[in-house]
């Protein structure tokens, strides 16, 4: 997996999937770019991620641990034009998290990690030059670079499926790979 940008912004779907995997930190470490999440997503999804951690009896919330270790940087708008773009995107998407992710990525020319159908079509239209990467592409990349055993990979994908309740869309380019790994 090649990332053509210096940074990659994770949207809320991906953050939730990686936290559900139980291997957020290792997965992030394998990404060949600085991994970022917007302040809007952090603020809005923190409670959900805490609920996920509680349901899994995790002592610490992986999301906060990753931020604490500096592996996951939190970023906020740093110019009026970013803020203006964000508000304009909110009007169209009616979703603060995806709008913030896209506005920041567009202005800073960063890659985006998302699985959201609506967000993907919007990003492709607004910023066709930006790379869009999915949860499965990142997990596959991690499994290859870290030589993860097929049993571990299966348990990670199963955790994303059961705890995160994520199933790839039937037109997902990695659906075949996911099905093979889940077998």
């Amino acid at each position: 997996m090649e990332i053509k940008h210096s940074h990659i912004v994770l949207d809320a779907c991906c953050v939730l999937n990686f936290c559900a995997s139980g291997h957020l930190i290792e997965i992030i470490q394998s990404i060949p770019a600085q991994v970022v999440v917007t302040e809007v997503v952090r603020e809005r999804e923190l409670l959900t991620l805490q609920r996920l951690a509680d349901e899994s009896n995790e002592d610490t919330n992986q999301f906060e641990a990753a931020m604490g270790k500096g592996l996951l940087a939190v970023t906020d708008f740093n110019s009026e034009s970013e803020e203006e773009t964000f508000v304009n995107y909110v009007f169209e998407l009616r979703d603060d998290g995806e709008s913030a992710t896209c506005a920041i990525a567009v202005h800073r020319e960063w890659a985006i990690a998302t699985d959201d159908k609506k967000a993907i079509s919007f990003f492709q239209r607004e910023a066709p030059n930006l790379q869009i990467i999915s949860t499965l592409a990142i997990v596959r990349h991690w499994s290859e670079t870290a030589n993860v055993s097929s049993a571990t990979l299966r348990s990670v994908l199963t955790a994303i499926r059961t705890r995160g309740r994520y199933i790839p869309h039937r037109n997902h380019p990695l659906l075949g790979w996911w099905e093979d790994m889940m077998r």
Binding site: C13, R44, E45, F77, V87, F91, E92, R94, D95, R165
Partner: protein, 397 residues
């Protein structure tokens, strides 16, 4: 997307929304002014819609009020605010106001969401509305029974029980029915708007028998006083108005029609040579009404002596306990907060990539994780068909 949306938005509406959010968060205008480094008069002007906001100011205020920017940046609703509709609907003191206002606001938000989903999916709720019934100068009981008979006939319900009243109101008539948690003394909120049509919120915390009664009660308001919003709660009136007496009389005729009830009562009486408490409980369960409502109805029809309910109560009748002993299960119902059509529109919009997952969660009023769980259940419920085939027009060759 070059233009700034804040240059084109309805500033007066935005100001109103900001003012409501500020008040809800417990902040004063002076507090809000500090958030954006401005004078209090600037907040006054913003809330009056007289001053344009910069994106940065909107973001800061939304964060300070604990709200999403998407709560403020949206197309102006075409519907009349419920607050205006209900302002004159009933007398209430400050304490009541504080209890019911958040519920009315939630009800309004859900109705607006419903309309938005219909627009996104281009699938307006099918309406099968009758003309408003003219009840002027009619005796109340006769009017209630004649409307009940006419509606049963119109809807093809015969004279038997109505098992899934909520589904009939939602799907056969096109009324938006939400189940919301309310304080126990409230039973139903009814509203009508040209764009939204008939809308009801029913108290989720009541038993289904009572909810069915409240739905029938609200339905009469729709049938006979369509444009009059109603908040129905115990002890509301010193002198009950005629419209309310009619609405209170209607459910017994609609849920327990005279001909059907008489015939079933006679069947039971003939079989056993008497009408026992077991018969009473079985019959109430059959019609999906409370024991008390059925006894009063049978007393009215002179099939039971008057005072029967009082005697049963004085003997310490424990309704739930007897129902359990008789093995009468809870009557069939769907206690979801949201109407089924609403849920299907939301999942279809998500599946077709017309809304984001975050927006889907907002429509369902849950967090993202719960939204995924519901989405999975709805997908399974929608027949397990392949995604593409779910949207096929089966009438096309």
């Amino acid at each position: 997307m070059a233009t700034n949306i804040l240059d084109n938005i309805d500033l007066r509406k935005l100001g109103e929304l900001l003012q409501q959010a500020r008040k809800k968060s417990g902040m004063t205008q002076a507090d809000a002014a500090k958030v954006i480094d401005a004078a209090r008069t600037t907040i006054v002007a913003i809330e009056k819609g007289e001053r344009r906001l910069k994106p940065n100011e909107l973001i800061k205020l939304a964060r300070a009020y604990g709200r999403a920017v998407s709560d403020f940046v949206r197309s102006s609703p075409v519907t009349e605010p419920f607050e205006v509709q209900f302002r004159a609907a009933y007398q209430r003191n400050e304490q009541e106001e504080a209890r019911i206002t958040p519920i009315i606001e939630r009800f309004e938000e859900l109705c607006r969401n419903y309309l938005e989903l219909e627009k996104i999916m281009d699938a307006p709720i099918p309406r099968n509305y009758p003309q408003e019934y003219d009840v002027n100068n009619m005796p109340i009981e006769a009017a209630a029974e004649s409307i009940a008979i006419a509606e049963r006939q119109r809807l093809g319900l015969g004279d038997g029980p109505i098992p899934m009243l909520r589904d009939i109101l939602e799907q056969s008539i096109g009324i938006r029915v939400f189940y919301l948690n309310m304080p126990a003394k409230y039973s139903e909120i009814y509203s009508y708007d040209e764009h939204l049509g008939g809308c009801m919120a029913i108290n989720l915390s009541h038993y289904e028998e009572r909810r069915r009664w409240s739905m029938a009660h609200g339905y009469l308001h729709f049938l006979a006083h369509r444009r009059k919003p109603v908040v129905d709660f115990e002890g509301q009136y010193k002198r009950i108005p005629e419209s309310e007496r009619l609405a209170e009389a209607f459910p017994k005729y609609f849920l327990m029609p005279t001909s059907g009830l008489l015939s079933r009562f006679n069947d039971m009486y003939r079989t056993h040579g008497k009408f026992t408490p077991t018969n009473l409980f079985t019959l109430a369960h059959y019609y999906g009404v409370s024991i008390e409502s059925l006894v009063y109805r049978l007393e009215d029809m002179e099939l039971l002596p008057s005072g029967t309910w009082d005697r049963l109560r004085d003997r310490g009748l424990k309704v739930r306990k007897v129902q359990q002993e008789l093995g009468l299960e809870e009557i069939e119902h769907r206690a979801d907060i949201l109407p089924i059509h609403y849920q299907h529109l939301a999942i279809e919009a998500l599946e077709q990539g017309l809304i984001t997952e975050g927006r889907f969660a907002d429509f369902l009023g849950v967090d993202r994780l719960e939204a995924r769980r519901i989405a999975e259940a709805l997908r399974e419920h929608s027949s397990g068909m392949l995604e593409e085939s779910a949207y096929l027009d089966l009438r096309q060759a």
